[in-house]
Structure formats: C-alpha cells, structure tokens
C-alpha cells in the first residue's frame, strides 16, 4: 500500500511522468503486491495478457500506463540516471528505444526457462525481449479506393501517388517520424531496405500526406472517411478494426514486409522487480504467446496470416518478411547525427511543393 502511495506521489508530483492514461486493475483477491507496467501499447490490445496474469496471480493489482514511445524512452532514461523506479516492466513498440536503454545500462538482465525459448533475433544481452510479430501493413478505405487502385506493394503506392496524385492529395496518412518512435523506426528500416524510399517520401510530400502520432489516429481517420490510405500501420491494430467490422482492407506489402517485434524489458530499478520478471516470463511463456497470437496481436511467426488480410500465405511468404531484429544494430537508428540528418531529409521532402 505504501509502495502504491509512493508511486502515486511520484506520478502526481513529477510533471514529466504524467502518463497519457493510467489504468488500475485491482487485485482479484486481497491485494498483496502491485505490478506497474509502462507501455506504448494500447490497453485494449494488452488487456487479455493482463487479465491472464491477474487470474494467475490473484493477489496482484496492476497499474498500466500508456505513453507515446518518444515520451516513454525519455522518462525511462531520466529515471535510470536518477536511480528512481517508474515501473516494473517497460513495453515499447520502438524496439530501438529498448535497445538504447539496455546499452545505457538501464535494464536488469533476466534469464529463465521462458527467456531461453525466445528466438535469438528477438533478444539481446538477456535484457530486452521481443514478444510479438507485427507486420507493417498498408490499410485502405474500401469505400473510397477502387479495387484496381489498391496498392499491394511499396512500388504500387509510389505509382499510385504519381499517377493519381490529385485524387489522393491529403488522403494518405502515415506517422510523423519526428514524434512517433515507431514511425521513425519504420522509416529508417524502409530507407535501409529499399531504394524506393527516396521516391516514396517525395511522393508523400507531393501528396501532402497527413502525419499522425499513432496508428489509432490514422485508423480512426480512415474509418471516418477522412483518409483513403494508411501506410506502415501496425497490422495487429488494423486487424482489430477489420475484425470489428470496419470497412477497411489490409495488405502485407508483397515486395517486402517489415515486421516489428514489440520489446519488453525490466528497468534497472523497479518497485517490485520480482513481479516485473514474473510478468515478463508470462509474456514469453507458451500460454502468453498463445494469447499474443490469438487474442492480442493476431499475427505470429510461423502462423498463417489472419483471414481477410491480403498477403502471401505464411509458408512461401516467409522470405518477404523483414523482421527488425533486436540487437546492437538498432543502436545506429538512435544515433543523434543519423536522426538529425534523417529528419532534415524527411522535412525537406514533406515541405516540398
């Protein structure tokens, strides 16, 4: 209880720690411990995982804070430098942020039977673990985009914006790379992956692309009919809308598909470190991974893509997937000079016209 009070004090007194939303799940039984999670993931997506953890640990209350990814990495870095706890588990879609935190010595390594199950490409230094498989997809409004114009690859999208530039002017949405961590990571990976990248952002600039902070914002705008196409959206979020009856189409780009693995890590200092490790094991466990694949994120390595999503069958399409592997190479993404140059190129392209 005292610990929770302390947490609340910290949350209320430090302006930089104010979360976008803070949700508290009370313990199912008499409360003995509190697990604090800070995440960039929408609560609705994480809810099945949290519920399963509460069922398995009825004495545990869960506090779930939602942040923008750039905010979260700043918070975590500051807390790490001040040796102050802000959470027991950090979950971020910007795996490059997590890798940078580990490299800065802000993570507590954890080794268990569950962490050993995690594939090598999705973990680094026993400190950061990827627990999802989330393709970056193209989403379109089925009401507004005629079937013959649906872009199913990066090249399609460049051609569409070139040929039908006027029709799609202001109707394409993607991340603002300056404010969205995941947007920046996807953009850097695109630039590395394909020589189409330069032409793509030039086309975005000409088409006065709409920049949003988050996947949900773009999906909302498409559902409202304000946008016709969303680029590089997280497949897991988009599929939830599709499954809920939204009039959208989803395609895995057929030339290459970036795949994000959402990162979870234990901060060096936590309120209840043992509980953080337990939740991490829960995410990586067989049961946790089943929930991730079936109820939370809908995509998983080695599983067929969900119905209604256009793309190669998982078997023969595997080679098109470009997983963003968790490792020291992601540190380059966060290099200050690189970020400066990358953003200035981006801004130059966006402000053209």
């Amino acid at each position: 209880m005292i610990r929770l009070l302390a947490l609340l004090m910290v949350l209320l007194t430090a302006p930089s720690l104010r979360a976008e939303t803070l949700t508290r799940f009370s313990a199912l039984d008499r409360e003995t411990r509190v697990l604090t999670i800070r995440s960039t993931t929408d609560l609705d997506v994480m809810r099945p995982l949290i519920e399963a953890f509460r069922l398995a640990n009825p004495g545990v209350a869960v506090v779930y804070g939602e942040h923008l990814s750039n905010e979260l990495v700043l918070l975590a870095g500051e807390a790490c430098r001040n040796h102050r706890p802000i959470a027991d588990v950090l979950v971020t879609s910007s795996s490059d942020h997590a890798v940078k935190l580990v490299n800065d010595g802000c993570a507590r390594p954890h080794v268990s039977a569950e962490t050993r199950r995690t594939p090598a490409y999705a973990q680094w230094l026993d400190s950061v673990f990827g627990f999802t498989f989330e393709p970056a997809v193209i989403v379109w409004d089925q009401r507004a985009v005629p079937p013959e114009e649906v872009p199913r690859s990066h090249l399609d999208l460049v051609a569409l914006l070139r040929d039908k530039g006027e029709a799609y002017r202001g109707a394409v949405g993607t991340y603002d790379v300056a404010t969205s961590g995941i947007g920046y990571l996807f953009a850097v990976m695109d630039a590395r992956q394909s020589n189409l990248y330069g032409r793509l952002i030039e086309a975005f600039g000409r088409a006065a692309v709409r920049l949003e902070c988050c996947t949900s914002g773009i999906l909302d705008a498409i559902e409202r009919g304000e946008l016709k196409i969303g680029y590089n959206l997280l497949g897991s979020y988009a599929y939830r809308r599709l499954a809920a009856g939204a009039p959208i189409g989803i395609a895995l780009p057929r030339d290459y598909t970036l795949v994000l693995t959402r990162a979870a890590m234990l901060p060096r200092v936590g309120f209840d470190p043992g509980l953080g490790a337990a939740f991490l094991d829960h995410l990586l466990s067989e049961e946790g991974q089943r929930i991730v694949a079936e109820r939370a994120f809908h995509f998983a390595a080695g599983r067929p893509i969900p119905p209604g999503v256009e793309g190669p069958a998982s078997d023969d399409g595997a080679s098109l997937f470009r997983p963003i592997t968790i490792g020291p190479s992601l540190l380059a993404v966060q290099d200050a000079a690189k970020r400066r140059r990358f953003l200035s190129e981006w801004n130059a392209s966006m402000s053209r016209d």
Partner: protein
C-alpha cells in the same frame, strides 16, 4: 619434513605430485594469458573493423562534419555477440558530432591516423576502444575527425574462458596421467628392493654366502654392503667357532690332569703322600682358575674392542690401578718394584678397562714367569707417543719365539695358558698402538706399549 621411516614411495609421489601441480598451475596461467590475448586480439580486430566502417563515412557538407553510423557496421558486432556498444565522433576542433560524449580513453592515443586500440571508460564502465583519425578537407577548420568505437568487456572475457576451458581440461588430464605414470614408474623402480628383501627372507639362517640378486646400479652398493657385512659376519663366526674349540681344548687338558691327580689322591693311603697329592690338586685348580679368568678377560677385551666407545684415558692411572691390583701377589715375595711415572698426564684415546686388563696381564706375566728381583713400570710421553713399559730381570721371551708369543694358547716355557700376551696384543691392536719386546738400558727384558698421544682435559666436563 619426513619421518625417518616415511615410505620412499610416498616421498616420491608427494614430491612428484607437488612438481606436477606447480607445472600445471604455471601452464594454467600461461593458457589463460594466451586465451586472453587471443580473445582480445579477435575482439580488437572486430572493433577496428567497425571503427573503419564508420570512419569511412566521415565527410563534410558545407563545412559541417557528418558521419553515418550505419546499422550494417553495428551488425558486425551483433554477429560477434558483443555486449554494450558505444561510439563517439568528434569534430576537428574536438566538438561533438555524434555518439556518447562520456566515452573517454584512459590514455590519449598516439599521434597519427590509427587505428589504435586501448582501454577507456563510459562513465564508470570499463570498455575497450578503437580510435581512428581522418583528415576531412572540407571541414570548416583543418584538422582530424576522430572516430571512437568501444564495447564492454564481458564478451571477450567469456571468449577467453571458452578458449581456456579445453586447455584447463587438458592440463588436468595430463597432470593426472603424469601422476599415475609416476606411481607406476615408482612401483617398478622399487621392485628390485622387494626382490632383495625376498632373497634375504627366504634364505637359510646359516647361509652367509653373497646374495645372488640382480640389482640396478643405484642399489648395487646396498647389495654389496649387505654382502660385505655377511662376509664379515661369516669370518667372525668362524673365528668364534675356532676360539670355542681352542678354549674347550685348553680347559679339557687341565681338567683331565686334575681328574688324574684326584684319582691318585683318593687311592693314596699314606697321609704325607696324600697331602702332597692334594697340594698338586690345589695347584691345578689354581691354574684352572687363572685360565678361566684369562679366558673371561680375553672375551671381555674382544667384546669391548668392538662395543665400547673410547674416551680419554690417562696411562698413569692405568699403571696405578694395576699396581694396586697386583700388590697382594707382590707381597708374597720380596721384590724391587720401581715406578717411573711422568709428572704430567699421559693421555691416550681408548677404553680404560681394556687397557687395565692388558697391563694387568703384562705385570702378571712378569711376576709369574719373569722378575726375579726387579720389576720396573714406566709411564712417559715421548713426543707424539704415550708409552707404558714393563721391564723385569727374568729370562724374557727368546728372540725366535717373539713372533708367535702373542698368538692365543702359545705356550712359552710352559706353565702359562698363553692367553696373557694374546690379550695384550688384542688390546694394543684395538687401540692402534704397537707392542715391542726389547731390552731396557740395564739389560732387563722389557715390553713396551706405545699409543698415539691424546690430550687429557684438566676437567672432564670441558669438552662436553
């Protein structure tokens, strides 16, 4: 370190074991050094490779230095499974371009373009750093752009452990094998000893012939010592047997004579003649008693020559004691006893009891067979010799008998057992001295005993 009876085998194994252990420890240290060097070398190369990849992208756009830290460069490190990675690029004026500003080298790298590899730290974290300098012609200020790439040390330590592990195992196995080999070798080496032991145990107690055992060079001396010892034992045993036979023979003769005298005495009825017979019996018994004393004296002298350690003895005291012992005999008839004893101690190193026995026999002989009126005993130091001489005016020993007079049971002119001079000779020989028969200045027959002089301490404790 060792008990006197500690097993040779154990000594050998413990010594060899200690040597093997020391060698193994040295090898472990060498192997670890080597593994550390190899691991450091491998990781330093990777680090330099990454630094070169990054340094290659250094350039300047309109005077501003730029660099591209590419994912590909860092992927090299990912493949090498390194731990935490840091880099720092500084401008020609030392200002920051990108990377970790708290990455510093422990010692400044030497001048030049590099690459240099050295130790550094990020905050408190020790790291290994590769440094490369590049001249950038388009930079605002002339100078070098410095690229540093670093990583923490866990991975190279782990590699060093991996490399050293098999070496450690190998050293442990070799050490164990070496010790086992040493144990087998030691067992084999000690086998001849067991053979000798068996040969001695199995032999008949009466068998004193040389051991017929093949022995390695190292213990051949031991075997020949045993053989030599047995040879001496055999000699001694032989002499002893002869001596016993002689003694039996010597005793048998007077006893036979005695028995005959007693028979005669028993058969004699005339009191006067019977009395005469009994006097002869008494005389025979006296002779027999004297013979027995001399046999005992001889046996004692022989025993003491081998068994008793020597000490300083003053010949003057020896002479005095003999005179004291001889006085009752001397009182029987008037005799001119002249003592010529030195003022200072006349020392020899020897056994006092044996010396007294020898001189006593000498004086006894002189009284019994020699001296008619005169007996002279002289003790003196003559240069390096200590001399004790006994002279009398008796007939002496004829010159042609002097050679054999000292053999046991050699009878001079009869009457004596012949053991007296043998005792004297044995004692003199045991003391390394000489026995001379000659004539005194006044023509008397003289026996001279000469020994190496040995100092006598005024008080006996001084030398202790």
């Amino acid at each position: 370190m060792w008990g006197r009876s500690a097993s040779l085998f154990r000594r050998m194994i413990v010594t060899l074991g200690a040597i093997i252990l020391v060698v193994a420890l040295v090898l472990v240290v060498v192997a670890r050094r080597h593994a550390q060097t190899a691991a450091a070398d491998a990781y330093d190369r990777i680090l330099v490779g990454v630094a070169e990849q990054i340094a290659e992208t250094v350039g300047a756009e309109s005077g501003v230095v730029s660099v591209d830290v590419s994912m590909a460069a860092l992927e090299t490190l990912s493949n090498a499974r390194v731990d935490r990675v840091f880099w720092r690029v500084t401008d020609t004026d030392g200002g920051p371009v990108t990377g970790y500003d708290d990455l510093v080298l422990r010692t400044a790298p030497p001048a030049g373009l590099g690459p240099f590899v050295g130790d550094g730290r990020v905050g408190d974290l020790p790291v290994r750093v590769a440094t490369i300098r590049r001249r950038v012609p388009d930079a605002a200020r002339p100078g070098f752009v410095t690229t540093m790439v670093a990583h923490t040390l866990d991975a190279r330590r782990a590699l060093a452990e991996d490399l050293a592990g098999p070496a450690h195992l190998l050293i442990a196995v070799m050490g164990t094998l070496a010790l086992a080999g040493a144990m087998i070798a030691a067992r084999l080496a000690f086998r001849p000893l067991a053979r000798i032991e068996r040969a001695i145990l199995e032999r008949d107690p009466a068998d004193l012939s040389p051991l017929d055992v093949a022995a390695p060079r190292e213990i051949a001396t031991l075997v020949s010592s045993i053989d030599g010892f047995m040879h001496r034992l055999s000699d001694r045993l032989g002499r002893l047997q002869r001596h016993v036979a002689d003694v039996a023979h010597q005793i048998r003769t007077p006893i036979t004579a005695l028995a005959a005298q007693v028979d005669l005495a028993v058969g004699e009825t005339d009191p006067a003649r019977r009395r005469e017979r009994l006097d002869r019996v008494a005389a025979r018994i006296g002779e027999l008693s004297r013979l027995t004393h001399q046999l005992l004296g001889h046996a004692m002298v022989l025993h003491r020559a081998e068994a008793v350690s020597r000490g300083p003895v003053d010949l003057r005291e020896v002479a005095a004691e003999v005179v004291r012992l001889a006085v009752p005999d001397e009182a029987v008839r008037p005799l001119d006893l002249r003592l010529d004893i030195a003022e200072e101690p006349v020392g020899v190193s020897g056994d006092r009891v044996s010396l007294v026995e020898a001189v006593k026999n000498l004086v006894d002989n002189a009284l019994r067979h020699g001296a008619r009126r005169r007996l002279a005993i002289r003790v003196a130091s003559e240069g390096e010799r200590s001399i004790l001489s006994v002279a009398d005016d008796g007939p002496g020993i004829p010159a042609d008998l002097r050679e054999t007079a000292t053999a046991p049971f050699a009878h001079g002119d009869g009457g004596g057992s012949g053991l007296g001079l043998a005792i004297v000779r044995d004692v003199v020989e045991a003391h390394g001295g000489e026995l001379v028969f000659d004539a005194a200045p006044n023509g008397d027959f003289r026996v001279r005993l000469g020994f190496a002089a040995s100092p006598i301490a005024p008080t006996e404790e001084v030398s202790a």
